[in-house]
Symmetry: C2
Subunit: 343 residues, 2 copies
């Protein structure tokens, strides 16, 4: 009998006004309501403990106060950092954040977006590297378009390969700058933990690093580039493979910090010390990892800020032009895990 909630109709009745008036008071429409009635309604609403039914509002307005965030894995500090930024922005605007995790599966990605579409979410931020699969991109582009037709907006934190606003880390130039820094430090022979072959982020960082080496007249031996998972364990395992096969490199570049962490762990387990036996550099500058020993030389990305900016793009509902791309530069953080090679 007690449904546990109060409807606007009950508030209106209690205040002795019409449903329309009550609605106008509670949400503040364009229409004025007299001071007298306004106060009556507010008093009744408060007294009865009125809480608007969000789905009824969504249905009536055909737009909700939901905002979506899609990540690969929320336990990965890279994503949880971005999530913190998006969260902050959403919360400031009184929006409710829906979190979807894809576990790196494109099907999951589209599934989540269509769920958000079904909920009439206002905007979606999709974080995480695009793959090199054109087909996946095409399917996703279709979802995004459907979402846009409904009046929603999408922003990405990744590569600008889709028809949506994008906050895009400049992986190439960051990796290139890092390469130059390491060359300046005296390194000539490098090994790279290049991550998965089909991940654009990984590839761009590899490319940037590689081309800076070429520009400096240095070669990157084929056997010094190993691919593996984009995770800590992927880094560990890739490093083991690299070292087992043998390498002449004096510096190891892992295309992200969590892989670099795995690399350092693997090297330690093999009795090598960093940076004496081998320098190690990463990419991202994950805050949780800043207390690693040795401290990691890396390229800092302002992840939380990137999340916030993506949220801002996605929620900028007036904008109706071409997709915008905000490029974010990384800054070199030179720390203890790299040093001039001996000899």
């Amino acid at each position: 009998m007690d449904p546990g909630y109060v409807t606007l109709e009950q508030v209106a009745e209690h205040a002795g006004v019409s449903l329309a008036t009550a609605s106008r008071v509670i949400n503040g429409s364009t229409r004025q309501v007299s001071q007298r009635l306004r106060e009556k309604v507010e008093a009744s609403a408060h007294q009865l403990g009125y809480l608007a039914n969000a789905s009824a509002q969504t249905l009536a307005r055909n737009s909700s106060s939901l905002m979506g965030l899609v990540v690969h894995d929320i336990a990965d500090p890279y994503f949880s950092q971005i999530a913190a930024g998006v969260t902050r922005y959403a919360e400031e605007l009184g929006l409710v954040l829906v979190l979807g995790t894809t576990n790196r599966s494109p099907q999951e990605e589209t599934r989540i977006i269509s769920a958000l579409r079904a909920h009439r979410a206002k905007a979606i931020v999709i974080a995480g590297s695009r793959t090199t699969s054109e087909e996946t991109d095409a399917r996703l582009a279709k979802e995004i378009e459907a979402f846009a037709r409904q009046g929603g907006r999408v922003a990405l934190v990744s590569q600008a390969t889709l028809p949506a606003d994008t906050v895009s880390p400049d992986n190439r130039s960051g990796a290139a700058a890092l390469a130059r820094h390491l060359v300046d430090q005296g390194h000539r022979r490098f090994a790279i933990l290049a991550g998965p072959t089909n991940l654009r982020t990984a590839r761009e960082r590899l490319d940037g690093f590689h081309s800076a080496l070429s520009a400096a007249g240095l070669e990157l031996a084929h056997h010094n580039v190993v691919h593996g998972d984009f995770t800590r364990d992927g880094g560990y395992e890739s490093t083991q493979r690299l070292m087992t096969l043998g390498t002449d490199a004096t510096c190891l570049f892992a295309v992200n910090d969590v892989m670099a962490t795995g690399a350092i762990a693997a090297l330690r387990d093999m009795g090598k010390s960093v940076p004496e036996d081998l320098s190690v550099a990463g990419f991202d500058d994950i805050p949780t990892l800043r207390d690693l020993t040795p401290t990691l030389t890396t390229v800092r990305l302002p992840l939380e800020e990137m999340g916030e900016r993506a949220a801002a793009l996605a929620l900028d509902s007036e904008y109706r032009g071409e997709p915008r791309v905000i490029s974010v530069e990384g800054t070199i953080m030179s720390r203890a895990s790299t040093a001039s090679p001996k000899g």
Copy 2:
């Protein structure tokens, strides 16, 4: 003109059946629909690209497919680990996860829960230590009760101080076991980074540690217990304070891992080495921190699993009895950051 979506009515019309029949086909009600019509409807739905309007469904059913998760700070690995567990469970059941972050503010906490109530969420998992404020608990209990009256369920990951199912780490016995382990290692004088005074988790760990020391006939000097923020920086700053005042302890227990991380960083910055000059132990066993040097002696909690179990409790919608409490034991992980004291 093109609203960007197709309604069930359009599907029904396209298939030449009534709205009722179409609804019965799409969601599979108790009522049967003949094979012939069923196929027609399915074909039409697929052809038109029908996607049900989630808010209309929620309104009609008075129950949504949303599940809430409330954490203090998603960038904190403790919470992102729990979040991963909750996410996995929710996704398995096809539920959509709503993430709320409180920034440790009780007002935010109730605000988020009432938002979830407004959305007719099925269940909520609230993670994070309760404070010692009875008043806050009372207000939260009221929200939880309102949510329950509406047919929702709540589960907590923390202390069982509220009328809801709880997954509760046994902080006291974990800390006590750790204390005994460290005493066995030869330590007699301890310092403790005890975190905030009003956080139950912090207090329980302090208590457990303390009482194990008492049981072993050891005293804990008052000046060796310092309070501070429950974060990495809190640990750093607390350690500085402790060391500046001077301590005779041979072992430092930080009541969580992120504080222990700050402690180790502070000690390193002061030129002290761990564990030679001072042993350091933590609590939680955050996976992201397992590559710290020295590796951290700590009490492992199965965080992801705890998240999953809390989600399971919250979504066990048949259950209508007394609040259940699942106690989770920690296991001692003895690693390199603690060693027998010299002398």
